[in-house]
């Protein structure tokens, strides 16, 4: 007998449903190490084709399948079913408008990412036919920052992000620091200007939900603290 587990999945079809509901499915554990995403695929391919969710890489690098699983934000593709309590309650990321079932609208999340100028800004031209030099120590400053996959697990777990629709949120702020911390970047002033706004870094009350939620073990809170320091430092 193959062991089965219950998935209780958030369902909502804007064309049909007046309000969301939960539907239970039995997922068979056919091999050791099955992930929540494998379970969702099994449901779609064998039981209920109407279920919608996003997925791409299935190994935790594309950031498509951030979901709220048993109350915690995580990536479905790297979350082991066997390590979860039953029933496994699968919901969309909190606080984002639902498009259908587990698919949420990222428009606001991306808009905030664009706001911090998420690209290298330089004024000094690079050498014409060689790379710019950067010491391994300086490059190390980007570790823990550049790996962000824009999954929104952090921002959608942040109480300030829920409460204030204009707050940039941990993901966008981490991105801002990724560039400011880069020795090659010369855009710190422009970015700090934006981030010093009341909806920027100062909205963070160091509640640390974001650190807990990040599936890539990044630390947005620390990045935000660095931003705050940089803003104060710059005022003098």
């Amino acid at each position: 007998m193959v062991k089965t587990v219950t998935f209780s999945v958030f369902r909502y079809d804007p064309e049909k449903d007046t309000r969301p509901y939960y539907k239970d499915y039995r997922v068979e554990l056919r091999r050791p190490g099955m992930m929540v995403l494998d379970g969702l695929n099994q449901i779609r391919w064998e039981q209920d084709g109407t279920l919608a969710f996003r997925r791409s890489c299935r190994e935790g690098v594309c950031g498509s399948d951030g979901l709220n699983i048993n109350g915690v934000n995580m990536l479905a593709c790297i979350t082991h079913i066997e390590e979860l309590k039953e029933p496994i309650v699968v919901q969309p990321l909190p606080s984002m408008p639902v498009i259908k079932d587990l698919v949420v609208d990222f428009t606001d999340f991306y808009a905030k990412y664009y706001l911090v100028k998420p690209y290298l800004i330089t004024k000094t031209p690079p050498p014409s036919d060689r790379e710019r030099l950067q010491s391994p120590e300086d490059r190390k400053k980007l570790d823990g920052l550049y790996e962000c996959i824009l999954c929104a697990c952090c921002s959608t777990s942040c109480p300030s992000f829920w409460a204030d629709p204009n707050y940039l949120g941990p993901a966008a702020l981490l991105k801002a620091w990724r560039f400011i911390a880069d020795t090659r970047d010369e855009g710190a002033d422009e970015r700090l200007e934006i981030i010093n706004d009341r909806d920027g870094a100062w909205r963070c009350h160091t509640i640390l939900n974001c650190v807990e939620a990040c599936p890539k073990q990044l630390n947005p809170t620390e990045a935000i603290a660095e931003l705050k320091k940089a803003i104060i430092h710059r005022k003098f």
Binding site: G33, E59, S64
Partner: protein, 591 residues
Amino acid sequence: MGDIPVTVHKHDALIVGAGGAGLRAALEASKSVNTAVISQVFPTRSHTVAAQGGVAASLSNVEPDDWVWHMFDTIKGSDYLGDQDAIELMCRMAPEVVIELEHMGMPFSRLQDGKIFQRRFGGHTKNFGKEAICRTCAAADRTGHAMLHTLYEQCVKNHVIFYNEFFALELLMNEGHVVGVLAWDIANGGFHIFHAKATLFATGGYIRVYKTNSNAHINTGDGLSLSLRAGLPVEDLEFVQFHPTGIYGVGNLITEGVRGEGGYLLNKDGERFMKRYAPTVWDLASRDVVSRAMAEEMRQGRGCGPKGDYILLKLDHIGADLIHERLPGIWELAYVFAHVDCTKEPIPVTPTAHYSMGGIPTNRFAEVVLGNMEKPEEPVKGFYAAGEAACASVHGANRLGSNSLLDIMVFGKVGGKRMAEFAASLPEHVPLPENPGRKGIEEVKNLLNGNGPERMGAIWDELKETMEFNCGVFRTEETLTTQRGILKKLCERFKKVGIADKGLAFNLDLIETLELGHMLDFSKAIVEGALARQESRGAHYRDDYPNRDDVNWHKHTLATMDEDGTIYLDYKPVRMKPLTVPTFEPKERVY
């Protein structure tokens, strides 16, 4: 179901696909003409993000290197099926495109002197095969992530127009020109016609037809089927790369960079068997050679585990510090997917379907071309292709590791520039055909309104299992003939497919069913090409024809499809003349 609206958009340059190839093309084209990109997923969720080990370029940062050595390695790796003009161009341009990436802000790992870090990779050697060389430029083992995010950041900076979560349904042609595509808005539903002067396909590879694979769910080769359905050929699809080191049981990739950093393979006797198969570079031979050696070890009963069905990849001896610094992603993957702490234990691995050498035929300018043994190549007006979706062909019968990230940068750039020049040269858009997108619209409406009894899940399961079994690392006339029959039946069943979801908003059932239709179409081209090719070359290995046969088969396969789905094969010569150096004549391949 009421009538679904059709919206028309007009752009000069249209790029389908937002992986590395698509974004690099967009950056180039948008410098001079109005450019839009459509992508099935938000750009940074494209498969390029998963690339690990690095991008090849003869920068000579660690030791002296030369683009001609790189060119030789690539041609030898291709088992002499690569087109030598395109390969020369790619290897010569490699340093330039990598340095551009650094200038754009890509966070490469660094050497002590501050230059870009380079590591060893399979098949890359110094001095025409003498010994392994450090040529692969890396950002730890997250090179694809670093590259794709950097390119997207530059697109944001340069205000490139994106239509994200749009799914291309049909290639539109009129008066012998490609004039754009019909697409479906995934989030909201609805048809969109993108009318363009020049269209570039950068839709990625076709590896999802194999059960055990290293690829993203979205790598379903859509661009190939859209081309086939428009009456255009696809090239060399039978060449499918099986990467030696997929995680046992799931197929997720462990980069060749692990062996580049000193890791090696062991059979059940604890023997480093690669020394018997590749006496010079051992574990760093090219991928077809290593995958076959592993499969051979397992066939001869030297596999590991109770079923003897995997090989061990040992790397703990290179030290925990080095692993955490240079291979942090690998540590994570091995831990999450195999429950192995690779700083202490070896990782169980098997070959995994990984890369599509075949694709839409192009010349070295990323122009899609027609032609055969008699007729020289001639571009299809307004149509371009780059990256894994294309066949330039720089990889021939077998791609070298870290040459794909290079391919997508070079031909993305070249193609973007070329398409922009073409678009600028046309005073007006070539008009849309009458009733544009009729077929694609019907295809979707039939699924939304129909009630077919078959479901995509069951058909797809059978497709990927049988492709792996009958058209995998080893092939024979018998297995391929069996597979031809299976495909015929699956295509019949697919005609009766229905979807459960009838809604417009984020209808994943619809998208996956459309993708399955694409996979069935081009799988026929893979199998027909493989069945016809009675030789073994690179990744295509026929147990019944174990040798390369240059007299009869030193040529590219071209497959076209007629209205009823029948595949026809044709061939074209390999472009043997490089641009500035003498031809590398076919030789026996030993590593």
